[in-house]
C-alpha cells in the first residue's frame, strides 16, 4: 500500500498556516464534551495535556513514574534549537529547515520539518513565559551555543539541565491544569493495551503499578507520547523504564511502525566499565563546542599517559576528516569515526573502547573558570562516575544507543493510520529522518505538544460525536482479559533465568548485529537468534511475586517480552533497507572512504510495517518522500 502523509501542498513557507486555516475547529462550548487520553507526560505529553486542558477539553493523562516531573525528558542536558537568529549569525527558519532535512539524510518529510522550524521560535517564547531559566548574557538577553550539524549558534540552554528545566516548565503548566480540574493525572500507570473498536482508537488498558489492578479508560481520542525504544539494546542512555510497550501494543492493534531501524548512536557517552552495568551515561554533545576529539596516531601510545603523547603524535580525526564541521560533525558521523579509530586498535582506556575528548586547549585559551561555567555540572558528573578530573585529564568517550528516530507512523496531523490514535514526540517517526541533529528532540516534543496537536486533534474531534463508546463496551472487557491472561502467563512460567538476563542477551544480539554497523549476514543471524531467545523467554523466565502488588519484575518482564518481538521487526527493517543513511549503516553500502551511501533511486521512502502476528512476516507499506525545496544531495560535512 502507498501511504499518504497528507501533507499540504503549495509553497512550503505557507503550508502550516494554510493547513491551520483549512482544518476544522471545535466550538469552545463543545470542547468539554470530548475526552482525550494522553499516555505519557514527558515533554510532548505534558505540553500536549496542558495545552489541551487549557483549551477546555477533558484530559486524562498517564505515566508510569510516580510523577510527570520524572519523565525521561528530564535527562536531556545540552539544549533546544530555535531559529531566532539572536546571535545574528545567519540563521533563519529556512536554514533550520534545511539543516534538519540534510542532517536527517533526506529521509524526513519536508512539510513536517518546515513546521517544526517555524514553530521553534514560539517554543522559546512559551518557555520563557513559563519561567524556564534559560541562560542569559549580562544584558539580560538569551544566550546561545552550537550543536553538531550546524554552523550557527541556535541552541538555547539552561546550564547542562535544559531537558529538566523544559520538562519542569511543561510539568508546571500541567500541574496548573490539574489544579483547574481540566486534566486528571494518573501516575504509576502503565499502558498495556490499546482498545480499538471498528478500526477506531477508543481507549487504553493500564496496570495500576501500586496495587496491580488492571484498569480501563475510554476516550474520544488517544494520544501516545511514550518516548523512545532504544532500550532494546539493553545498555543505552535512556532511563531504566523506557520501553517500546505502548508503541508495540498499538502496533499489534494495527498501527504501522515506521523506520524502526533508524536509531541514533550518540558519540559522547562514558565508556562501559564492566558487565554489571545497567545503563550508559551520555555526556552532552555541547562539550564538543570546546572539547577536541583525538586518539594516538600510533597504537603503541594508547596505554601511555596523555602528557607523554605530544601534539604531533595525536590524531584529531574529526578535524582532519571534516575540516569545516570538525568536532561538531553530526552524531552518526562522529560515532562511526570514533568506532573506526577503536576498531583500528587506537582506542584508549579499558578494552581500547574509548577516544579522548580533550579540553586542554580550550582551558588554555579561555581559562578553567569559563569552562567550568559552561560545563561544570557535566565535569562533575563525569568525575562521579569515572573518578577522573577532566580539567586535568581528557574525558574518555564511546558511542552508545541514545535515541529512536523511528516510531509509529503518523500523517501530517500526527494521526496514525488508526483513526483517533495520535502519536507525539519521540514515539512517532516524523521529523528526524535517518539521523537526528542535536537539540532537536526537545524542540520536536514541545512543538508536537504545545503547537501541533492542539490544532490537529480538533480537526478530528470536530468530525465525530463525543462519548459514543465507553469502557462498558465488550472490546474493553476483551482487552482487559487479554492483559490479565498475559500477566498470569508471565508469573506462571517460573523458569530459571531472570528478566534481566534475557534483556541482556537480547541487547547483545542487537548491539553486535543490528547496532552501529550492520550487514546482510549479521542481520540474518539476528533474525534467527531473536525468535529463539523469545521462545526461551516464554519457557524459562522467572518472575517472582504476584500480579496483585507493586511488582517491578513483572513490569520489566512485560517490557522485555515486547522488546523481544520488536527487536525482530527492527532487524527486518534494517535488512530490507539496502542502503546506508544516517543512523542506519550497512557495511555493504559505503563509499571508498567509508562514508554512508544512500540509494535514493530505490529507498527514498518511509518504510512502515504492518504487524501480522508473532512469527509471521510483517507487511511493508511505503510512503514515498518528495524533495521539492531541498535538493537531494550527498550529505557532506567536509
Amino acid at each position: 500500500m502507498i501511504l499518504d502523509g497528507k501533507c499540504p501542498s503549495g509553497p512550503i513557507e505557507k503550508t502550516w498556516d494554510k493547513h491551520r486555516f483549512d482544518m476544522k475547529l471545535v466550538n469552545p462550548a463543545n470542547k468539554r464534551k470530548f475526552k482525550v487520553l494522553m499516555v505519557g507526560t514527558g515533554l510532548a505529553g505534558a505540553a500536549g495535556a496542558a495545552s489541551l486542558g487549557e483549551l477546555g477539553y477533558n484530559v486524562e493523562a498517564f505515566c508510569y513514574q510516580d510523577s510527570p516531573r520524572r519523565a525521561h525528558s528530564i535527562a536531556a542536558q545540552g539544549g533546544i534549537n530555535a531559529a531566532k537568529n539572536y546571535p545574528n549569525d545567519g540563521d533563519s527558519i529556512y536554514r533550520l529547515f534545511y539543516d534538519t532535512i540534510k542532517g536527517g539524510d533526506f529521509r524526513a518529510r519536508e512539510a513536517d520539518v518546515w513546521r517544526l522550524a517555524q514553530v521553534s521560535n514560539n517554543i522559546i517564547d512559551q518557555c520563557v513565559a513559563q519561567g524556564v531559566p534559560f541562560a542569559r548574557d549580562y544584558a539580560g538577553y538569551l544566550d546561545n551555543r552550537s550543536f553538531g550539524g550546524a554552523q550557527v549558534s541556535r541552541t538555547f540552554y539552561a546550564r547542562g539541565q535544559t531537558g529538566q528545566q523544559l520538562l519542569l516548565g511543561a510539568y508546571q503548566a500541567l500541574a496548573r491544569q490539574i489544579n483547574a480540574g481540566s486534566v486528571k493525572m494518573f501516575a504509576r500507570r502503565e499502558m498495556l493495551d490499546l482498545v480499538v473498536v471498528d478500526g477506531v482508537a477508543r481507549g487504553i488498558i493500564c496496570r495500576n503499578l501500586v496495587n496491580g489492578e488492571i484498569e480501563t479508560y475510554w476516550g474520544d481520542a488517544v494520544c501516545l507520547a511514550t518516548g523512545g525504544y532504544v532500550n532494546v539494546f539493553y545498555l543505552s542512555t535512556n532511563a531504566m523504564g523506557c520501553s517500546v510497550t505502548a508503541q508495540w501494543k498499538a502496533a499489534k492493534k494495527g498501527a504501522y511502525f515506521a523506520n524502526p531501524c533508524y536509531t541514533q548512536i550518540h558519540p559522547t557517552c562514558i565508556p562501559q566499565s564492566g558487565d554489571h552495568q545497567s545503563k550508559l551515561t551520555l555526556m552532552s554533545e555541547s562539550l564538543r563546542n570546546d572539547g577536541r576529539c583525538w586518539v594516538p596516531k600510533k597504537k603503541e601510545d594508547c596505554g601511555k599517559p596523555v602528557s607523554e603523547i605530544p601534539d604531533e603524535a595525536r590524531d584529531y580525526y574529526l578535524e582532519r576528516k571534516y575540516p569545516s564541521f570538525g568536532n561538531l560533525a553530526p552524531r552518526d558521523i562522529a560515532s562511526r569515526a570514533a568506532k573506526e579509530q577503536c576498531d583500528d586498535g587506537r582506542g584508549v582506556g579499558p578494552g581500547g573502547r574509548g577516544v579522548y575528548l580533550d579540553f586542554a586547549s580550550s582551558i588554555n585559551r579561555l581559562g578553567e573558570d569559563k569552562i567550568r561555567e559552561r560545563y561544570g555540572n557535566l565535569f562533575q558528573m563525569y568525575e562521579k562516575i569515572t573518578d577522573e578530573n577532566a580539567y586535568k585529564v581528557p574525558m574518555r568517550m564511546y558511542p552508545a544507543p541514545h535515541y529512536s528516530m523511528g516510531g509509529l507512523w503518523v500523517d501530517y496531523n500526527l494521526q496514525s493510520n488508526i483513526p483517533g490514535l495520535f502519536v507525539l514526540g519521540e514515539a512517532n517517526f516524523s521529523v528526524h529522518g535517518a539521523n537526528r541533529l542535536g537539540a532537536s528532540a526537545l524542540m520536536q516534543g514541545l512543538a508536537d505538544g504545545y503547537f501541533v496537536i492542539p490544532y490537529t486533534i480538533a480537526d478530528y474531534l470536530a468530525r465525530i460525536t463525543p462519548g459514543t463508546i465507553k469502557d462498558d463496551h465488550p472490546a474493553f472487557k476483551a482487552a482487559k482479559a487479554e492483559v490479565e491472561a498475559n500477566t498470569k502467563r508471565l508469573i506462571g512460567i517460573n523458569g530459571k533465568k531472570t528478566v534481566t538476563e534475557f534483556h541482556r542477551s537480547l541487547g547483545k544480539i542487537m548491539w553486535e548485529n543490528v547496532g552501529m554497523a550492520r550487514n546482510e549476514a549479521s542481520l540474518k543471524y539476528a533474525l534467527e537468534e531473536i525468535p529463539k531467545l523469545r521462545e526461551e523467554f516464554w519457557q524459562n523466565v522467572k518472575v517472582t511475586g504476584s500480579g496483585a502488588e507493586l511488582n517491578q519484575q513483572l513490569e520489566n518482564a512485560g517490557r522485555v517480552a515486547d522488546f523481544l518481538e520488536f527487536g525482530e521487526l527492527f532487524a527486518r527493517d534494517a535488512l530490507h533497507r539496502k542502503e546506508s543513511c544516517g543512523g542506519h549503516f550497512r557495511t555493504e553500502y559505503q563509499s571508498e572512504d567509508g562514508e554512508a551511501m544512500r540509494d535514493d533511486e530505490n529507498f527514498c521512502y518511509v518504510g512502515a510495517w504492518e504487524y501480522k502476528g508473532v512469527n509471521k512476516e510483517p507487511e511493508l507499506h511505503k510512503e514515498p518522500l518528495k524533495f521539492e525545496n531541498v535538493h537531494l544531495a550527498v550529505r557532506s560535512y567536509k
Binding site: A50, S51, E54, D66, S67, P68, R69, R70, H72, I74, A75, I124, D125, Q126, V128, A129, Q130, G131, P133, F134, A135, R136, D137, G140, A158, Q161, Q164, Q165, L168, Q172, A173, A175, R176, N179, A239, M240, S273, G274, H276, S278, K279, V306, S307, K384, I385, T386, D387, E388, V393, F451, P454, T498, T500, E501, K542, T544, E549, L550, Q552, Q553
Partner: protein
C-alpha cells in the same frame, strides 16, 4: 594519567534492608549478603546484583524506585546508613558509587520516612504530596501561545543565576526525609525563589507563596525549625537561603496582601 582506581577486586557486603510488603503491613529489617561487588558499580547496580541473587534463591527482590540513574529525575531515594541518598555529598543514590565502601561493610537501607510520604513497599514511598504542592501554585499562569518574544523580557544575569540555582531541585524528597519535622520548606523555598526571580513570575508571587504554604500545612508536612538537615541531605546543594527567601516572601504577602 590518573585512571580510576580500577582494582577489580570484589567486595562482599552485609545488607540490612527494610522489607515491608505494603502500607498496612509491619516492616522489618532483613539481612542479606551482596557478593561480587566492584568499586565501579553504582549503589543501585549493587542492589541489582543482590536482587538477581535473591531471585535465584526464590526471595522477592528488594523494591526501590529509580529511573534515570543519572541523578536528575529525582526518582531514586533511600536512606543509606541513616543518611538520605547515602554518605557522599551532593549525589543521589543512583550516583553513589561503591568505591565509597569497603569489603565487609554493613549497610542499612531504609525508605524516606515522613508523615507526608506513606510507604508503598520496601524502599518505595508515595511522594504525591510534592506534586500537590506544585499544583497548588508552583507555576506561572502562562497560556500556550500568545506570549511575547523571549528577549522582550530581559532578566539580569544575577537574577537568572539565582533562579537557575533554585530551579535545580529534582523533587526527590530527601530534604523532607532528613528533616526531624518532615518539612518541605526547602523544596517549596526552591520553587518560590525560582519563579520569583523572573519578572514574569513576580506577578503571582504573593498568591503563590500563600497557596503553597497553606497546602504544605494541609498535607502534613512539618514546620521548619532551622535544623539545616535538608541542605545537608540535598543532592543538588539547594541552599537554605531559599527558605529565608520563602519566609520573606510569605511575610511580604501577608503584610501587603
Amino acid at each position: 594519567m590518573s585512571h580510576a582506581a580500577s582494582n577489580h577486586e570484589t567486595m562482599t557486603l552485609k545488607i540490612f534492608a527494610w522489607r515491608q510488603k505494603n502500607a498496612q503491613e509491619k516492616g522489618r529489617f532483613e539481612q542479606y549478603t551482596a557478593k561480587n561487588i566492584i568499586p565501579e558499580m553504582s549503589f543501585l547496580e549493587m542492589i541489582d546484583v543482590l536482587n538477581e541473587d535473591l531471585i535465584a534463591q526464590g526471595i522477592d527482590p528488594i523494591v526501590f524506585d529509580n529511573d534515570c540513574r543519572e541523578g536528575i529525575c529525582g526518582t531514586c531515594g533511600m536512606v543509606v546508613n541513616g543518611v538520605p541518598h547515602g554518605p557522599e555529598d551532593l549525589v543521589t543514590s543512583c550516583q553513589l558509587h561503591m568505591r565509597r565502601f569497603k569489603d565487609g561493610d554493613s549497610i542499612y537501607l531504609e525508605p524516606w520516612r515522613a508523615k507526608a510520604f506513606p510507604i508503598i513497599r520496601d524502599l518505595v514511598v508515595d511522594r504525591t504530596a510534592m506534586d500537590k504542592l506544585i499544583e497548588s501554585g508552583g507555576y506561572i499562569s502562562a497560556h500556550t501561545g500568545g506570549v511575547p518574544d523571549g528577549n522582550a523580557i530581559p532578566v539580569s544575569k544575577p537574577d537568572a543565576d539565582t533562579g537557575m540555582d533554585a530551579a535545580e531541585c529534582i523533587g526527590c524528597g530527601a530534604c523532607v526525609a532528613a528533616c526531624p519535622n518532615g518539612s518541605a520548606m526547602l523544596f517549596v523555598g526552591a520553587k518560590v525563589t525560582h519563579l520569583a526571580s523572573y519578572p514574569q513570575g513576580r506577578i503571582e508571587a504573593a498568591q503563590r507563596v500563600c497557596d503553597m504554604t497553606d497546602t504544605m500545612v494541609k498535607l502534613g508536612f512539618g514546620n521548619c525549625s532551622n535544623h539545616y538537615e535538608c541542605e545537608a541531605a540535598c543532592p543538588k546543594g539547594i541552599s537554605v537561603r531559599f527558605i529565608a527567601k520563602l519566609n520573606r516572601e510569605y511575610i511580604k504577602a501577608k503584610i501587603c496582601g
